[in-house]
C-alpha cells in the first residue's frame, strides 16, 4: 500500500514539474527613468497584442465628499488628448480592428486594448497621449455626468440586489474609504469641478503610478524602443501620491440590518472582514471559499441548494483588496424560504469548518481546483496582461503568475480551520437581509 502511494506521489510530482515548465509565462520587466513600470510578455501564436495600463488609483484614494471620482475620471480618459480630438480614441482603436475598455475598482483603474499586432505603435502612442496630456473640457464633463448617473441606475438602482455591495461596505467600514463604492454618489459627481479633475489627473496619472504591460505578438527589443519613444519624456509627477493610511478598527460586534428592495425572493448577505489580499491568511480564505461554494459538491451549495432546497443560489466569494477586505457570502432564497432559514444553514456550515478539520480528500479537491484555476488563468493574453501588473503592484512580484501555486501549497488543512475561526465569526461580520418592499 505504502509503495503504491509513494509511486503515485512521485508520479504526481513529475507531472507537476512537467506542467510547471510548459505553463510558464516568460516576461521582461523594467522601469523607465520617470518611474513607469513596464512588463512585456511575448507570444507570437496569434497576430494580436494586448496593451494595458494599470494606474494605482481607485475609489479608496477619493475624498469622501467626492466619491465616484476615480471612476468618473476613467470615463474622461476616453475623451481625447492634446493630439487626439474628442471622441477619436474609440474610433481610432475600433478603426484599427481593436477593442478597448477600462474598469475602476477600489484600488486601481485599469485600461486595456486588444489590437492587431501591426498597430502596436499606434496603441502605445494613444496611451502615452492620455498619460501625458489628456484633454478634458466642460462639455465632456457635463455629458459624462449624465452617462455615469445612467451607469449607476443600470447597475445598481434598476437592478434587483444591485445595491448589495454598497449596502454591505457602508456597514462593514466606518472610517476606511472602502466604505463607499467606485460608482460613488450622483450628488458628488454633480459637484465636482473641472479644476478638481485636473488636480486628480496631475496627482495620480503620472508615470511612477502606472504599469504598462504588453502581451502577445511582439518583439521585446522593438517594443522597448517604442515604449522609450513615446513614454520616456513624460515627466515624473511632482507631488506625493496620497494613499489612505486609515486602519479600519475591528468591527467589534455583529452588524445586522434589513434592506428592502424591488425583489420577491429574500436574500441573505454576509460580509466578514478579512485580511489584505497579499497575506497568507487571504490565500487560506480563498481556498475556504472554494470549499464552501466552488462547484455543486461544495458545502454550501450541496446543503442549501441540493439537500435542503432553501436557496436558489449561494456563493462565498473573497472580495480581494489591497487593504483588509471582505469575504462575501450571498444566498438568494428559493420560493417560500425565509431569510433566517438560509442564514441558519450557512451558520451551521461555517461552524462545521471551525469545529472540524477538513478531510484529506476534500483538501486535495481544493488543491486540484486551485491548480486548474492557476493554469486556466493563463489561457488568454488579456488575462495575462491583467494578472502581471496586478501581481507587480499589489503583491510586489509579477512572477507570482508562475509561482502563486506554491503559496497555496503551503497552506494546510489546519490553516483553513484556523482562518475560519479567526475571521468567520459573528463579531467580525455584517449580516443583511434583503427583503421584498411592501407593495401598496
Amino acid at each position: 500500500m505504502r509503495k503504491i502511494l509513494i509511486f503515485l506521489s512521485s508520479f504526481l510530482l513529475i507531472g507537476n514539474l512537467l506542467f510547471s515548465q510548459s505553463a510558464n509565462i516568460e516576461f521582461t520587466e523594467y522601469d523607465l527613468d520617470n518611474g513607469l513600470h513596464v512588463i512585456l510578455h511575448q507570444d507570437n501564436t496569434t497576430p494580436i497584442v494586448v496593451i494595458s495600463v494599470l494606474y494605482h488609483v481607485g475609489s479608496k484614494n477619493e475624498d469622501p465628499k467626492r466619491t465616484g471620482f476615480a471612476h468618473f475620471f476613467e470615463h474622461l480618459m476616453f475623451e481625447g488628448s492634446k493630439n487626439i480630438e474628442r471622441g477619436q480614441i474609440d474610433k481610432m482603436i475600433n478603426g484599427a480592428g481593436g477593442y478597448l475598455n477600462a474598469f475602476t475598482s477600489k484600488d486601481q483603474t485599469y485600461y486595456f486594448m486588444q489590437l492587431p499586432s501591426n498597430y502596436l505603435e499606434m496603441g502605445l502612442w494613444m496611451e502615452s497621449e492620455r498619460l501625458l496630456h489628456a484633454k478634458i473640457n466642460n462639455e465632456a464633463v457635463e455629458t459624462q455626468r449624465e452617462v455615469v448617473k445612467e451607469e449607476r441606475r443600470q447597475r445598481l438602482d434598476n437592478r434587483p440586489y444591485g445595491s448589495v455591495l454598497e449596502e454591505l461596505y457602508k456597514r462593514a467600514y466606518k472610517e476606511h474609504p472602502y466604505r463607499w463604492q467606485p460608482i460613488g454618489s450622483a450628488q458628488y459627481i454633480d459637484q465636482a469641478s473641472l479644476e478638481e479633475f485636473m488636480d486628480f489627473y496631475k496627482t495620480f496619472y503620472v508615470p511612477q503610478n502606472a504599469t504598462l504591460t504588453i502581451t502577445g505578438d511582439i518583439d521585446v527589443e522593438t517594443s522597448k524602443a517604442l515604449i522609450s519613444k513615446y513614454f520616456k519624456d513624460i515627466p515624473r509627477g511632482t507631488s506625493e501620491i496620497p494613499r489612505p493610511t486609515i486602519v479600519e478598527p475591528p468591527l467589534g460586534e455583529e452588524v445586522r440590518d434589513t434592506v428592502f428592495d424591488n425583489i420577491q425572493l429574500p436574500g441573505v448577505i454576509m460580509g466578514y472582514r478579512t485580511p489584505a489580499q497579499d497575506t497568507d491568511d487571504a490565500y487560506a480564505l480563498n481556498m475556504l471559499s472554494t470549499l464552501l461554494s466552488g462547484g455543486e459538491s461544495s458545502r454550501l451549495y450541496k446543503k442549501l441548494v441540493d439537500e435542503e432546497e432553501k436557496a436558489l443560489q449561494v456563493f462565498a466569494f473573497p472580495l480581494s483588496s489591497e487593504d483588509p477586505g471582505v469575504t462575501l457570502m450571498f444566498a438568494i432564497a428559493s420560493q417560500g424560504t425565509e431569510a433566517h432559514d438560509m442564514e441558519a444553514s450557512i451558520n451551521e456550515e461555517i461552524k462545521k469548518v471551525q469545529d472540524e478539520l477538513i478531510g484529506e480528500k476534500e483538501f486535495q479537491k481544493l488543491l486540484n481546483n486551485v491548480e486548474n484555476d492557476f493554469v486556466s488563468s493563463k489561457g488568454s493574453l488579456s488575462g495575462i496582461a491583467q494578472a502581471l501588473p496586478e501581481f507587480h503592484v499589489f503583491y510586489g512580484d509579477a512572477n507570482l503568475i508562475n509561482t502563486e501555486l506554491d503559496r497555496y501549497r503551503k497552506i494546510t488543512r489546519e490553516d483553513l480551520q484556523r482562518v475560519a475561526k479567526k475571521y468567520l465569526n459573528r463579531d467580525n461580520r455584517v449580516v443583511l437581509y434583503y427583503l421584498p418592499k411592501k407593495k401598496n
Partner: protein, 695 residues
Amino acid sequence: MKIKYSSIFAILMFTIVSMQAQLDRSIKPAPGPAPEIKLGETQSFTLDNGLQVFVVENHKLPRVSFYVYVDNDPIYEGENVGYLEAFGDLLKTGTANRSKSEIDEAVDFMGATLSTFGSGIYGASLKKHTNNLLELMSDILLNVDFKQEELDKLRKQAISGLTLAEDNPNAIAGKIANALTYGVDHPYGEFDTKESWERVSVTDCQNFYQTYFRPNKAYLSVVGDINLEEAKKLVEQYFGEWKKGEVPSHTYDMAKAPAQRKVALVDRPTSVQSVIQMVYPIQLKQSDEDFFAAKVAVSILGGGSTGRLFSNLREDKGYTYGAYASIDADKLVGEFSASASVRNEVTDSSIVEMIKELEGMRDELVTEEELRIAKNDMIGSFIRSLESPQTISNFAINIISNDLPSDFYTNYLKRIAAVTMEDVQRAAKKFIRPDNAHLVVVGRASEIGEKLEAFGKVTYYDLNAQPYNPNKKELPEGLTADQVIANYVSAIGGENVISKVKTITQEFSGSFMGQDLNLTMKQLANKKGGDMFLMKMSAQGAVIQKIVFDGTTGKQSGMMGEKTMDAQESAELRSSATIFPELKYDDHGYTTKLISMEAIDGEDVYVVEVTSPADEVVSHYYSAETGLRLQTVEAGETPTGDTFTQKVVFSDYKEVSGIKFPHKRVTTVGPQVIDLTAKEIVVNAKLKKTEFQVE
C-alpha cells in the same frame, strides 16, 4: 579603433537623440504591414455511429476540452415548455452508475468544468484528468437516469428562477421581445412559466433523449493539449457505443414583422430607467449574399462605442450608459434588435433618436470613414477570436451546421473588405425597418405610458406576454348593468323627476378647428311615438348639420346635403332622440351588459355596453363614486368605409330644475376635438311640434 568605436557610438547617440527630439506627437503612427492571418488547422474523422469529430491541437497549456453538440432542428416544446431545460440539467444529476452527488464530487475533485444542456455536453479539465473526465461524460451520455426526485428539485429551482427573473427588467424585456418577434407558437418565442413547469415530466426528458439525442446528429469538438491519434483512441473508447437513430426534423412558419410599428409596454412601477428594445424578425442566413453588408450596416448603426446609437444617445445626449444594435443571422429566422436603458424622463426622446438613427441608415449613404471603421472593427474582431483554439473547431462545425461553403471562413476577411457604401445602404433598406418594429419598453408606465403613444399603438403586456387593459379593474361581485344605470338615474335626479320631463332645450357653444361653433338640441316628449328631436350645429351663421326626428322618421341636412333617413337609420335615432333613454331601453329593444371596471384619470368607472336592435354598440362609462356618466365611446364608419372611434366626455354636471346635466361635452373623433360648453339648458320650456317636422 577606439576612436572609431566612440564615433560610431556618438553618431548612434546623435541619431537616437535627434529621433527623440523630432518626435512629433501630433502624427498618429501608421500601422506596420498587415500580419498574415493563418486559420489554425482542424483535423476531423467520423465514428461508425455518425459522430463527426473535430480536433484542434493546441499545446500551450496542459488542458483539453470536449464539446458534444447535438444539432437538432429547434424544438417547439408547447404545453410543457421547460422540459428541454430540465433534460439538459438532469443529464448531470444521475446515471445508472452514479448519483448526482457522486457526479458533482468527481467533477469538482478534478477541478474540472462539466456543463450539460438540451443540445449537448461540455467538459474541460487539465490534461492529466482527461480519462476520468471522458469516462464521466460517456457515462452521462450512455447511461443517464432521469430521476423524479431530481426533477422535483429542479422544478422548484426553475420556479424560483422565474420569480427572480420577474424582478429583472432586462429579463422581462428579452422575454416579451422574443414572444412578440417570433410568436409564442414558435420555438424561439415560447417561454416557460410556473404552470408549464408543473407539467414537465420525467417522460418528456426520456422521450427527448430517446428521440433526439443521437450521435448521427452530433458533432464533437476536441481542443487542446492532445494529438489526433490520442483523440481517435479516446473518442472511440468513450463515444463509440453511443447508438445512432432516426431523428425527426421540424420546420416552422416564418415569423413576420408587424405591418406597422407596435409599442409593447410592460409596467414596472419601481423602474428608474426604461429598458427599450426595438426588435423584429428578419430573413437572413450566414450564407446569404447580403450577410456581410448587413453586418457592416448594423455595426455602423450600433456596434459598440463607435456606433451611431452610442455616439448620439450616450456621448452626445447623455441619455444612457450604452445604446447598441445587433443583427443575427439564423438558419430558421434571424433577428434585428436595437436597445438602450435610459432614465425615465428621456424615454420618448431616446426613442425619437433611435428611430432617427435607424432611418438615417436607410436614407443616406454612410461615410467612408464609418465604413472603414466598421469593416476594420469586424476584421479585428475576427482576428482576435482566433486567439481561442475553440474558434477553429466552431468554424468547422458552423460550416456543416449552417450549410456554408467550405471556404466561408478563409474568405471571411476578403468578403468584409469588399463591402461598399452602396451595399450598406441596400442592406440597411432591407433589414433596418423602424416602421415595422416591435418597440418593447419595460418601465414606469405612469411616467412614460402616454408619451409612448407617439410611436404607435401602445399595448400593455403582463409578465406572461399577455396583453391587458391597464385601466381594467375587478368588478364588485354581484353588480349588474341595471344597477349601474339605476344609480345613474338616481344620481342625476331620480326616476320620479326625470320621467316627468316634457322638453329639454340645450344651447352649447364651443370651437372646432379654430372656428366658433354653436349647437342646439331640443327634445319633446311624445307619447304616441318616439320622442321628437332636433339637433342643429352651426358655425359663423351657416348651418353645418341639422338632424330632425319626428318620432318616426329622421332627416339630415346641411353642408353634407339633404337626406331622409331610411327605416333602420331612423330606428337608430330613436334612442338618441329619447329624453333619458335609460328609462326605455327595454321598450326599444336595447340590451345592456356590464363589461368591466376601469380607471379614467384615476377615477373608477363601470363600463356598460348598450346594444341596439341593429347591433350598434355604445359603451357608457359611469363613475363608481358619483354614479354620473363620464363618457361614451362608439365606433363609426366614414362614407369612405374607414372606421373611427367617437368619444364624448361629459363633465361639469350642474343642476337644472332638479336634474343634473353635464355642462361640458368634449367630443373626440380621431385627431379632431370638438369642445362644447352649455350656454343655456332649459327643462320643460314650451316647444312646438312643428319645429320637429320632417317635410
